[in-house]
Symmetry: C2
């Protein structure tokens, strides 16, 4: 069966998930999911001696669902430590529902082969794990969810977490947790907060046990069943890894300059506007150019959102933005800022981006800068599979932010090496073209014709403007027509749209 | 049927609620209650033009349950404003489930007589409303719940709030609310936070609409459906009314001095201890005496808890306590402190005192100072009905705190006017004697024999010590034997223990 973005979804999958029918068609009232609560009485302790004891006390059994957060990113020790103990205990057939999976989680491949893990849902799958999934090592397809989509799935009960194992940069013995104090400070615990709120059993794993009561409280004692102290939960180096070096690449700087011009030239650029730029060299450069204009024009933003970097913290400290709304931090300075600046505010993933919430912050967002591995003639975006069809990306907040904000801007080079970015048809649709307003490349921009208001408004903009078809043709002129990927028959990943419907599937290669 | 505190509970009530069997007997795992969530999409507004429009949009119908918070205490305008609109709309047969009811809510009497309100659950009932209930104007008995008990009832689903109308000292248009900014700053919104989290529909009513995003966030936009701006939500004078003047009464000062000696003489008085003293002249005096000792002995408390007053704020600012954990503020300085001092931390009622939570803060509390209208030979305490049997008090956190803390101390004069405080049998049991450790009067103290460890430890204490029987006899020697109250047959109030079982009933007078 074909869905709204013209993707073929097998009927049995449509029956189970429904098919994507448009950004806001399948957002309906629902009864919120619930957890089983085991009350803790006076004089009872939550502090356990080991992860093994916590696994046993939690009642974890074959077939259950467990979760982890990805705030430590490439520096995470927790998932591998816990999975090793679980495997040693002989527990099998688990569903793994972390907020995301990083390269550092390569040991998962063995746990999959050994039947410890038989189902996975995640925002991202990197390197070796992604490649192994694409090869088809799992019987059941992985379910890829956006950050907002995961929060929705947990709130609606599509994901029910039996036991959440949450790395806690600091915790007291009763389970009051924050991410701004400790040895491995990751800052915001926005993704973990959701797991703690809905899971039946929650285990806080910390390497920094502090006196009661630990404040500020990101995860409260009322959402934690057990506390375990370990030697180390994460590597601070790894938390900031890969994030955010300012680019000196002329092509990237040109893209960033064009993107900044698009924002500044838009009707959204005024006192009190808001934006999210994310990470990566070009994004930081956009922020830099935008900052110069804001200083020149005397314009201040009401808030910046998202994955936060030091570039955002500088804007806050210089008074150019009034507040930072923070679901995740990508470097150490932003984690430190969250701990000390009252205008740098932590929120959970539900408030950040869920389509099923009583109103997410992205609904109030003016401009979002987003990346793409591929964007096609329908403006559909792929941030998940490479040009070889192998899973190596992450859904993240891409489809959430772009759907909700007033103007979404894709920044991407026209070609990468010998690979075109603007293509006829993306390998995998993560974000439907209806959510994308402007595509910015180093040779110029393409505005989505569905946004005639922007087409009109940008007529006077001094940036080369093309149709998306013209951008694609220029890309193909340079590197030629990409070879078609030879997929197998097996579906290795289901791409769930933020509303829970199926927007695409990924087959083995 | 007789319960654990030897009170006769009619069988049909026992069938519905169960009977009190001991403080921790009926605390069991349960599936948490849930709300119906109506998602808010991008570009949808929550801001409505009037309370009337909000009532209509909320879908409020005959027979539903509505709630309010009591953080404005005697200064509250919200409940009366909303109830007047509801009555004008002709909606009937509502269950009213506010966190408490004050004198200022006298108009409720008319709404009860007119059938707008047919069921009530509350912590307290004062003056005219209490008297009217005691006269028997309601067909169905009021259910009295402690602050922790109400949080438990909401979490377990015993109370399901269809629509919560929450006074918001400040809010943005998307429903981010706090109590530290605005015209009627009440400080902590600890009781309101629970309603917002579990109610199907939540209406934030504010007189101070601020730009988005309003921070700090006590109640997040994800828990609010509608926002209404009105002229005024409360009278700041009334918020602090009746609270906390330091006593000059020699009898009260003597009681306070004895209470402080009990704390200082106990094994709990050491570096990092914690306490809750509440409001009222004698309590403040206890804090004053305790402070002098802490300075002299160089001892610092890890935290103070509860209803917070300026006396606690002074301890924090002087470095004598490390943190304030705050569910409610009783005066303006404490509300201000919450807004500016990072070590003054806001929590909700579930985290404060619920027996059904994954661990309340009171479970970590060393010492609690509590008041009493009556205490009897079994150490049972009455804080609800007067010596005439008329309802005029509030359950508050009395039974919660005393059950959970390490040492609960009742401070009360032996007699009030011509009325004995220490009696053979209290009119109404709010807190079972098993939760009470020490009774302090102006003539000396009585230690609960069930706490032989304290009896032993206090042998050397230079305070006159009596049995509770001796205190009662001395009281009766002075004022004579109290006349028995002539109750009617009708049950006007059910006293629910914090675990949801029935500890006592109140009949009409």
């Amino acid at each position: 069966m074909k869905n709204e973005v013209n993707r073929e979804i097998p009927e049995e999958i449509v029956v189970k998930y429904g098919k994507f029918e448009g950004e806001f068609v399948n957002i309906k009232p629902y009864q919120e999911s619930t957890r089983q609560v085991t009350p803790v009485k006076p004089k009872e302790t939550k502090l356990l001696s080991s992860i093994k004891e916590a696994i046993i006390k939690s009642g974890l059994k074959d077939g259950m669902t467990i979760s982890f957060h990805h705030h430590f990113r490439e520096g995470d020790y927790v998932m591998n430590m816990v999975m090793a103990e679980i495997a040693a205990l002989g527990i099998k057939n688990l569903s793994l529902a972390p907020s995301s999976i990083a390269n550092v989680h390569e040991p998962l491949i063995e746990h999959i082969k050994n039947g410890v893990v038989t189902n996975i849902t995640s925002s991202g799958l990197r390197d070796k794990v992604g490649a192994a999934i694409s090869e088809g090592i799992m019987e059941n397809p992985v379910v890829i969810r956006s950050h907002g989509g995961r929060a929705r799935a947990i709130a609606t009960g599509d994901i029910h977490i039996d036991v959440a194992f949450l790395g806690a940069p600091s915790s007291d013995e009763y389970g009051n947790v924050n991410g701004t104090v400790g040895k491995a400070t990751c800052g915001s615990l926005g993704y973990a907060m959701i797991d703690a709120k809905y899971a039946d059993k929650v285990v806080a794993i910390t390497d920094t046990l502090v006196p009661y009561p630990n404040t500020p409280i990101s995860i409260p004692q009322t959402d934690v069943d057990y506390v375990v102290e370990v030697e180390a939960i994460g590597n601070p180096e790894g938390i900031a890894k890969g994030a955010t070096r300012y680019t000196k690449n002329p092509k990237e700087l040109l893209i960033a300059e064009y993107a900044a011009k698009v924002i500044i030239g838009s009707s959204y650029y005024k006192e009190g506007f808001s934006f999210q730029t994310g990470t990566g060299g070009p994004s930081l450069a956009v922020t830099r150019f935008l900052k110069e204009a804001m200083v020149k024009d005397g314009i201040k933003a009401s808030f910046v959102l998202g994955g936060i970097t030091n570039a955002m913290v500088e804007l806050l400290e210089e008074g150019l933005v009034k507040k930072i709304i923070d679901v995740q931090d990508f470097d150490h300075p932003s984690a430190v800022s969250l701990g000390k600046n009252e205008h740098h505010y932590e929120i959970d993933a539900n408030m950040y981006a869920s389509s099923a919430s009583k109103g997410a912050v992205i609904n109030q967002l003016d401009v979002a800068i987003l990346s793409a591995l591929e964007v096609d003639l329908d403006f559909n975006v792929n941030v998940m599979t490479g040009s070889d069809g192998v899973i190596r990306g992450a859904s993240g907040g891409h489809s959430d932010t772009s759907a909700a904000c007033n103007m979404s801007i894709i920044i991407a080079p026209l070609i990468r090496g010998r690979i075109p970015t603007v293509v006829e048809r993306v390998n995998t649709v993560i974000t439907p073209g209806s959510s994308i307003d402007v595509v910015v490349t180093e040779i110029g921009i393409a505005v989505n014709p569905s946004r005639q208001d922007l087409v009109e408004h940008f007529k006077s903009l001094d940036i080369p403007q093309y149709t998306i078809k013209e951008l694609q043709e220029k890309a193909y002129q340079i590197v030629g027509h990409p070879y078609p990927i030879e997929y197998g028959e097996k579906i290795v990943a289901l791409i769930e749209y933020r509303d829970g419907t199926m927007i695409d599937v990924v087959r083995n290669v």
